[in-house]
């Protein structure tokens, strides 16, 4: 029987010829990512009693969650991380302002097809867009990885998801993945690896694939892998000179399930409060008054996302009662958006641009919601209380839907834009 991508990557990482779904393997990780919670990881690491991390060159730390520090506690946590990376000789440290970890790692050339990456963030699945097995773990587990370079993993069963059809006007990757989550449920892929195939995925840019792999975590996926192609290799080779060894599934690989989606008639999708699988076509929620519109994040804060929103907002003004917040995913994205004139468009439309980071998405700062308020956002989670008050409502949508809703002051259909 052939092997899936997950099985091949985990077999290589465990130093075995072959592993099967269900096996528990002791895997050596290729890269270990942490963000602000590196403060907690380093605290736990010190408790183990090992003096040095296993390999400082394989650890990447990006400060993005509470940047610039919003409280004294956050500032102290950042300070402790800076001290730790100094002590341990961790060179791959990106301080406040570089960007959101899931954008920074691919941008800086750390992510290559076939790798095993773990990160102390649930949306670490994002790197699956590059043919990587990457998954989120907790801080204690990461402390173990820093000490030993290894962790135990259960080899997951794999779901094959085939997406076909040319997307209609103003319908994008975010709508596709929200639709899939709505169909399979918030735990539909719990513990499973997903491999994405089909002409829609082939047509997607690298950025759109990142949206899919990032958001797929909200169906519980352990890894959300897009097999690499020339677009992937092109992106990676521009950013690293390291060798690229793509991993593909065998023709006769065993999948637990195969799902097929035809998206040629897909409508813009909205994930309604308070679970990501509460997905409806935009028509069912159109007209709902909004107080805030958030464009950006690790899910949808790349240049193509800002471009589509800028196209909609150009020469227009956001509704008077709406606070529109734009969060570019990284400094590189931000600078590109400045050059292309998108930032000017957003400012003229009345939006507030905040520095690259996680701020409003996790309700830490930079735009938390009051009780009774409603937001539409291109981020990835709409849990109760996620963006502030537990009495607020969060609706997830594509950048196009967010932009057109900001203009109208209510949830609106981007297909109306001519």
């Amino acid at each position: 029987m052939g092997e899936t991508i997950a099985e091949k990557i985990l077999a290589r990482a465990a130093g075995k010829k072959k592993v099967d779904a269900g096996d528990i393997v002791d895997a050596s990780v290729d890269l270990a990512m942490s963000h602000d919670n590196a403060a907690l990881v380093s605290k736990v690491f010190k408790e183990i009693g090992v003096s040095r991390v296993w390999d400082p060159s394989r650890i990447v730390i990006v400060l993005d969650h509470r940047v610039p520090a919003n409280t004294i506690k956050a500032a102290e946590a950042h300070k402790s991380i800076r001290e730790f990376v100094g002590e341990q000789g961790i060179k791959h440290f990106y301080d406040v302002g570089v960007g959101i970890c899931h954008q920074v790692l691919p941008e800086k050339g750390f992510v290559r097809p076939g790798m095993l990456v773990v990160g102390t963030d649930s949306h670490t699945t994002t790197y699956g867009a590059f043919g990587v097995f990457s998954t989120g773990i907790g801080a204690t587990e990461m402390a173990g990885v820093w000490a030993t370079g290894k962790l135990w993993l259960k080899v997951p069963e794999t779901f094959r998801m085939i997406v076909n059809g040319k997307l209609p006007y103003m319908v994008a990757a975010k709508d596709v993945i929200l639709h899939i989550i709505g169909e399979i449920g918030a735990d539909g892929a719990n513990y499973k690896a997903i491999e994405f195939y089909g002409e829609t995925i082939d047509d997607f840019s690298v950025a759109s694939r990142m949206t899919v792999s990032n958001q797929a975590m909200e169906a519980g996926a352990k890894a959300a892998i897009v097999p690499p192609d020339e677009k992937t290799i092109g992106y990676v080779k521009e950013r690293t000179s390291k060798e690229v060894k793509s991993v593909f599934a065998d023709e006769d690989a065993e999948y637990e399930k195969t799902f097929e989606f035809d998206v040629s008639d897909l409508e813009p999708q909205i994930a309604c409060p308070h679970t990501v699988d509460n997905v409806k076509p935009v028509g069912e929620v159109e007209g709902l008054h909004i107080d805030q519109a958030v464009l950006g994040s690790c899910t949808n804060g790349r240049v193509e996302d800002l471009a589509v929103a800028a196209g909609i907002l150009k020469g227009k003004k956001v509704a008077e009662h709406v606070r529109m917040i734009v969060v570019p995913a990284s400094r590189e994205v931000y600078m590109d958006a400045v050059k292309k004139g998108y930032i000017q468009v957003f400012l003229e439309a009345g939006a507030t641009i905040v520095n690259p980071g996680c701020g409003p998405c996790l309700g830490a700062h930079q735009g938390v919601l009051a009780a009774g308020e409603r937001a539409i956002t291109s981020t990835n989670r709409n849990f109760k209380g996620r963006m502030g008050s537990t009495e607020a409502e969060v609706y997830l949508a594509s950048p196009a839907t967010v932009a057109v809703s900001a203009l109208k002051g209510e949830i609106a259909d981007p297909r109306e834009v001519k």
Partner: protein, 166 residues
């Protein structure tokens, strides 16, 4: 290894923002964290005040979905809860619970447990005795490796122990 306590019943898809709201993420003291356990669940805001040491959380599917924050299981442990029984756990929560030493059991028959029932649970076999309703339910315990980690008190004491044996 048996535990006994009163059941607190929760629904499906209880996410990490409900278990431990993001606003408290800068807290580091386990007992302090325990005071906010389950605070984001509507109608259960005062859970941490009312829960007694040894009590048991019983939940539906996908318990602990969302963020990778291990403060979620830590806060539950800090509140005095002895074990979480759920129809299913979200993947990262499951691993974090093992790694910080919070016992967990999967059980497909959680509907047979009601709020306030007294349960006795064997953490090794996964057997659940509902004393209030005189029912015996079958749960799935963690694997032997996971139990070893959990029994050591979590991954750190486990690794320390392994280190000292080298």
């Amino acid at each position: 290894m048996n535990v006994k306590g009163k059941a607190w019943v929760f629904g499906d898809d209880i996410d990490t923002d409900q278990i431990f709201p993001g606003a408290y993420l800068t807290l580091t003291d386990v007992e302090e964290m325990g005071k906010h356990a389950m605070e984001g669940v509507p109608g259960r805001e005062d859970f941490a005040k009312k829960v007694a040491k040894g009590d048991i959380i019983v939940a539906g599917k996908n318990f602990g979905c969302g963020s990778s924050r291990e403060q979620a299981p830590i806060a539950i442990k800090g509140s005095g809860v002895s074990v979480v029984v759920a129809k299913s756990f979200a993947r990262i929560f499951y691993r974090n619970a093992v790694n910080i030493g919070l016992p967990i059991i999967e059980c497909k028959e959680v509907e047979k447990i009601h709020d306030g029932d007294t349960l006795e649970i064997d953490l090794v076999t996964g057997d659940i005795k509902n004393e209030t309703r005189n029912l015996r339910l079958k749960g799935t315990p963690v694997t032997s490796l996971e139990f070893e980690i959990m029994e050591a008190g979590g991954l750190i004491p486990y690794l320390k122990h392994k280190e000292s044996m080298r």
